[in-house]
Amino acid sequence: MQRVGLVGSGFMATTHATSYQEIADAEVVAVASLSDDREAFAAEHTPDADVYGDAEEMMDDADVTMVDVCTPTPTHRSLVEAAAERGLDAFCEKPLARTVADADAIVDAVEDAGITFMTGHVLRYFPEYVEAKRRIDAGEIGTLGTLHTERLSAPPRYGTNSWFGDKDQSGGVLLDMAIHDFDYLRWVVGEVNRVFARTAEWDDGHLNQHSSVLLRFEDGTTGHVEASWGYPDGSPFVTSYELAGDGGLLEFDARDENAVRVSGGAEGANAPSSPLAKSPYTQELEHFVDCVETGRDPDITPDDARAAVRIALAAIASSERGEPVSPAEVGT
């Protein structure tokens, strides 16, 4: 049984706390957050957990066996380093880090300490994405040619002090959101040779961005990731892909899901809409807990998470410079 110390009390911490309730081998025994709402968060989502205002104090004082980091991106490094110093296994939300230097430091820290560590590239647990990869790996669409993904949403209107809207902290839509597709496509295809990106940006009280990233993989496959934080408030979050090979095509569009369609309804009534019996976040954390319990290596390596950060940072650099950028050259 893993005794989890959860760091953070925002949107992702809530998602993880909910998932841990469904995981037999893990229990959140402590929560640490800088936010004033930490007591309320714990009361609602982790009623048996001790509450701390300082994460390192929690790691020292609470009887935790692993740490789950659900905090703003720039804080990941010091929190993971703190866990590693204490020999605590750690799960960290994506993106791994805001900079290559921080990503390198995290990879070094977890490898030196020998802790079990994984980054939350949760797309690898979404069945529509897993199934596509399984079929590609089985050769069902032949040799890959063009891979197109979309991830479209309104700007995040949550996050402490609107940190998502601060590019210095979040890296914007490319590092915070497109990174899901970067990691997925790299998982499917392999290393990226170069990216060319365009990003439109405007401010309406929140940071709006709409980005397009062309990716050239080392094997010659071409990808296109379109990611938006530019949709109007209230727009449904949309993901889609079209993965084309020389022997076939895989298409998915979340707009076609419609597991449960609701018209009207009594005010305040709850109508769950996910078609999945188990959420991808629960799958992801269950896998990590299992790795911690059994000593197995997690699906997603520290290097994987760092490579995804490099692709995203290359895309940001390309957007700024108007030229193709290699993930290998960023941060050097």
């Binding site: 040799t143 890959l144 040619g145 063009t146 197109h148 170069r194 060319f196 990106a197 365009r198 990003t199 439109a200 405007w202 309406d204 709006n208 709409h210 397009s212 062309l214 050239r216 010659g220 496959t221 071409t222 296109h224 379109e226 938006s228 530019g230 949709y231 109007p232 727009s235 079209e242 084309a244 090979g245 020389d246 022997g247 076939g248 095509l249 108007g322 030229e323 193709p324």
Partner: protein, 330 residues
């Protein structure tokens, strides 16, 4: 007055749809089909299909008010020169020409001969595109920030993959439709293009991957996937979509999204999608016939299309150099 139209070459498969649209117009007549070289037999067969005569070129030119040129891209210039010589108006299949030099020669020839000449851009007559134009003009988008389009299709084969006849592959064939729509909707030109291309789907001598990342002259960013990436067994020929992202809203256009699904136990393919939306070619042909009658330029002129070809030429240069290339337009 019945407007008399001839068809120069049926090498391009769009010829059949234009012939159908012409025969539906009460005030126009498809007079005949002509061709030169190796494809005369094909043109004779097509003329039979359309129920019109096959005519020798000069004989046809002497008997019509306008011609539709559906030859290979490389032959556009020669047909336009003959038609302009004969003083007849012209609707030319897209892309206008394989090179900017030839496209300019076409535009200059038509201007000097005083004939009205246009390029077949049916998406300007697509009702979903027109709806988007109305929404834009109504201010729905606020400020336009980003454009993302697709014109993915099946690999057409034949002369389309013979560089001598086509000038190139997917970049040549599937860039200009959405580029034209964007230029038409925004009133801007393409300023710069970066291209990722390749040959990944078919064993052919031209590219079938066509990703273009562009900026417009006002700085708006515009990305287009015009690859021949749809499998031969796909349930439709391809797509034409455009997403317009604005500060106040987003408009997503799917020109051929209006499809019903048909399953037939005894047919091959057993499952296919059938387009039921309004046919953009009807509007295109209607506009050309009206232009001939009214002695005015068609909606999309050859002069304007030179700048579409400039985008294509810059895209090839970008793919060659692996860097963004400025588009030269006039």
């Amino acid at each position: 007055m019945t407007v008399r139209i001839g068809l120069c070459s049926t090498a391009h498969h769009h010829a059949h749809s234009y012939a159908d649209s012409l025969s539906d117009l009460p005030d126009a007549e498809l007079v005949g089909v002509t061709e030169v070289g190796d494809r005369v037999a094909d043109a004779r067969a097509a003329a039979d299909d359309y129920g019109v005569d096959y005519r020798d070129p000069d004989d046809l030119f002497a008997d019509v008010d306008g011609v539709v040129v559906c030859s290979t891209n490389a032959d556009h210039l020669a047909w336009v020169e003959r038609a302009a010589d004969a003083g007849v108006d012209i609707l030319c299949e897209k892309p206008l020409a394989p090179t900017v030099a030839e496209a300019r020669a076409i535009a200059d020839t038509c201007r000097e001969a005083g004939v009205n000449a246009g390029v077949a851009m049916p998406l300007r007559f697509s009702q979903p595109v027109r709806n988007a134009k109305t929404a834009m003009e109504d201010g729905l988008l606020g400020d336009l920030r980003f454009l993302s389009g697709t014109n993915r299709g099946q690999m057409p084969g034949g002369w389309f993959v013979d560089e001598e006849a086509s000038g190139g592959g997917a970049v040549m064939d599937h860039s200009v439709h959405i580029v034209d729509v964007v230029r038409w909707l925004t009133g801007e030109d393409v300023d710069e293009v970066y291209a990722e291309t390749g040959t990944k789907f078919h064993d052919i001598g031209v590219e079938d991957v066509n990703f273009l990342s562009m900026t417009l002259t006002d700085g708006t960013e515009f990305v287009l996937d015009g690859s021949w990436s749809k499998p031969d067994e796909w349930d439709f020929w391809g797509d034409a979509t455009l997403r317009l992202v604005g500060s106040e809203g987003v408009v997503s256009v799917d020109c051929f999204g209006q499809k019903l699904k048909q399953t037939s136990d005894d047919a091959d393919p057993a499952i296919q999608s059938v387009y039921w939306g309004s046919n953009p070619d009807e509007g295109l042909v209607r506009d050309f016939v009206d232009a001939v009658r009214e002695d005015r330029p068609p909606m999309k002129t050859v002069a304007d299309a030179v700048n579409d070809v400039a985008v294509v030429e810059a895209a090839y240069e970008s793919a060659e150099r692996t860097e963004a290339v400025a588009v030269e337009h006039r």
